[in-house]
Symmetry: C2
Subunit: 467 residues, 2 copies
């Protein structure tokens, strides 16, 4: 019985046209990474579950794809022990018995594992990039896949803001090369921590950040109400009111924040962390100015991604001409490798969202037009002698790096022309007994209709005609 | 508690030096595929188990990595039903209950699935290549991994020997570019079938091929003994003796075979299949002659790989100067897509063994020397002003495609020089107040010791010095 073939939900096949476009994105990104001295690594798709579990929260643990132990995985287990009620069993506990490996969930944890495992072979600061698929047992939906590529670039082992600068420069360069106008948003986790500290609620960074972010949508009154519900004191709310009334240019806002952090807020609390955050932002901003950027960059105090792990700079990039959310983001993390036994290593990294960048390029019609076709010339074939006649010419052209196809069968010319059309091959060569007698190849430009017979050994002239 | 990090047995991390070498191999192969008009596709790592099971034999089914269903995978199962004895359970049956997906075992079955699923979008003959990892739950050992890349190129939908020719040409070109001398061995499954037919044992192709192959090692008497044990008749053994005594040049051997297949053997049996095989071999050989090859190619009647699925040409490639077995192989298969409901589609393909090619290049010391270093110039950094001074120069050089690093911290110069040495960076630039005052950058060639101060805006001169 023939099976009707399909692939698992949330996974994709990439045909040659999509691959050409995806490779265009990855090649562009890779080429930029290389000009900054970042070098590629790859880690296995299969990691030990002990490496992955507990790194992404309870929700993340549930989304890990677990791989069954090979061999007799289900024997030696007392199933009764795992029974909950009726035919319900403790799947979480049982899966640990039968599965020791899982599929990579992101590139960050494998990177941390890699750095610790190979610390003696690595030169720090270690600048690496990694472009590989990851797997998540998420509910599949439009734009969310169970298997997708991540494209991460990180530097670990240096606290200098030059690293943040380089990431911003790489973002700037990648999107300039891809011809996508972007806004690069920058914030610093320490500044957000500073706000919580001077509001007298140092443990409520996330609550306060979320509230600040809502001002435009819900108004001051609702924000204050939410703060009260979260248990922020009236004194704290007064400080938040001061933060929300920050005004003027970025430089002016930074000066006002500095004064608040120095004890000038309603609470009078000084925040050393907030001041450190401002220093970092100012240094980064000064470095960006010195280096020069092509794209828009700006401070965005409402930017609050990755608050559970970022400790310094936070980045997010949005396309200005296509509304699709963040297409790139990242930040600085301290102690990423601590969980694997190597503490005090600070790093900073960003991740490019290949699928969204693909959608932006498609939406803005910015993919180069000639990505689809790779073959330049098709030798149509009339018979066995004509075939053998063109084979050395095809070979010589290929050795010049020109993509050439020889139609494999001497079928009707119409069919061979159709093949050229479907594959967008711009030139065709049809040769019969006349050309063989004359020692020429007949070339036709399928776009302009121009036709030319050239000596079969005059490779330069042939190459020239095919340009 | 810090975990000691490790990766699953049989998997590997690839560091930047290995990645550079692996990319060199893949880029070379890819560039050759492209000049022949083959285009890349990718399929998901996760396939439905229904796609994979039964395609690789019982042994293959055992080697599939199965992925646990997400969510409450272990509930709703009556475990008692699967009990064999004591605490032994039917793991095969249970794994089917809790797992519907598996990891790709090779690239051939996903390719067949792809062709059938996308048959209406594909232009036949369909020329595709695919370079992706596959997973096998094999016992790990030296040179055998549980996760490894395959690199397959196939054309499907044409029976013409021009396709076989192209594969041979691609092999020829790839190994010429990699500077590996190879022998390309060619055989044809139909000729082997022909031998079995005229020996009166049409179902014992494999037995007879294995015996023929052993002649050099064990001698004629042992071969005959083995044939008897396998139930070949005395008449059949007489025919095999005739086959083993084939002698002379390839052309002479082919002529003798033709006569045997035409009824001239001891059995007098005519083999139409054998004759068809000879026709195919002769046509391929004539096409190879017309196209011209750089590497050694020859008929190898003992070549017997993939006898369970190849139906025509069989290929195998060995490095002449490094004993490591086959580094590339393939053949023609009919009806690959039949199991997914699309019969009568003939294809031919080969697979490059990236890991073995890597070992050959390492063993012969044939990797280009400059693969390791990608960064051309390191700007050492003395302080905040000096840093800001070089940033625009670094930016301009990167936009010319030159890989430049700026050391992120103003640490001791010794440490910065060490960094350049460890990363094999050939040029360093150290700039202080003098250079800033003069508007120059100071460049040093770390190999020759040559040093030069150039105007910081004279990009051409700087680029020139860095060549």
């Amino acid at each position: 019985m023939a099976q009707k073939p399909s692939i698992p939900k949330g996974t994709r096949d990439f045909g040659q046209a999509e691959m050409a476009r995806r490779n265009y994105i990855f090649d562009t990104i890779r080429s930029v990474f290389r000009t900054f001295g970042y070098q590629q690594i790859e880690t296995p798709a299969l990691e030990n579950l002990s490496t992955l579990l507990g790194k992404y929260g309870d929700e993340g643990d549930k989304l890990l794809f677990r791989v069954l132990n090979s061999g007799d995985a289900f024997s030696g287990i007392d199933y009764g022990q795992y029974r909950l009620e009726g035919d319900r069993y403790n799947s979480k506990a049982l899966s640990l018995k039968v599965s020791e490996k899982g599929l990579r969930y992101d590139l960050t944890v494998p990177f941390a594992r890699y750095v610790v495992q190979h610390q003696n072979e690595i030169s720090f600061p270690f600048k690496r990039f990694q472009i590989q698929p990851v797997w998540r047992a998420d509910r599949p939906q439009k734009g969310r896949y169970r298997e997708f590529y991540q494209c991460d670039v990180d530097v670990i082992g240096s606290r200098s803001q030059v690293n943040e600068l380089e990431l911003v420069q790489m973002v700037d360069r990648v999107f300039s090369l891809l011809d996508i106008r972007v806004g690069i948003h920058i914030n610093n986790r320490k500044v957000l921590t500073g706000f919580a500290e001077i509001a007298g609620a140092p443990d409520q960074v996330i609550d306060i950040t979320v509230a600040i972010d809502k001002l435009d949508k819900v108004g001051l009154e609702k924000v204050e109400e939410e703060m009260r519900d979260k248990g922020i004191s009236e004194g704290g709310i007064a400080v938040i009111r001061q933060i929300l009334s920050l005004d003027g240019s970025t430089a002016e806002k930074m000066a006002q924040m500095r004064s608040l952090f120095q004890g000038g807020s309603a609470s009078g609390i000084v925040s050393a962390t907030g001041l450190k955050g401002l220093d970092e932002l100012e240094e980064l901003s000064s470095l960006i100015k010195a280096a020069g950027l092509s794209q828009e960059v700006g401070l965005d105090l409402s930017l609050a991604r990755g608050l559970n792990y970022y400790t310094g700079a936070i980045f997010e990039v949005k396309a200005l001409d296509f509304p699709i959310g963040s297409i790139c983001g990242g930040g600085r993390y301290d102690n990423l490798t601590g969980i694997f036994g190597l503490p005090d290593l600070s790093g900073v990294g960003i991740s490019f969202g290949a699928d969204r960048i693909y959608d932006v390029l498609t939406g803005l019609d910015k993919f180069p037009a000639d990505l689809g076709s790779t073959t330049r010339l098709l030798f149509a074939v009339m018979g066995a002698d004509e075939l053998r006649y063109v084979l050395p010419v095809a070979r010589a052209l290929r050795e010049q790096g020109i993509a050439v196809e020889v139609y494999p069968e001497a079928v009707k010319l119409k069919k061979q022309f159709d093949y050229a059309a479907r594959k967008s091959i711009p030139f065709i060569s049809i040769n019969g007994t006349d050309e063989i007698a004359a020692g020429t190849v007949n070339l036709k430009d399928l776009t302009t209709g121009e036709q030319k017979a050239l000596p079969k050994d005059d490779l330069d002239a042939i190459v020239d005609f095919l340009q």
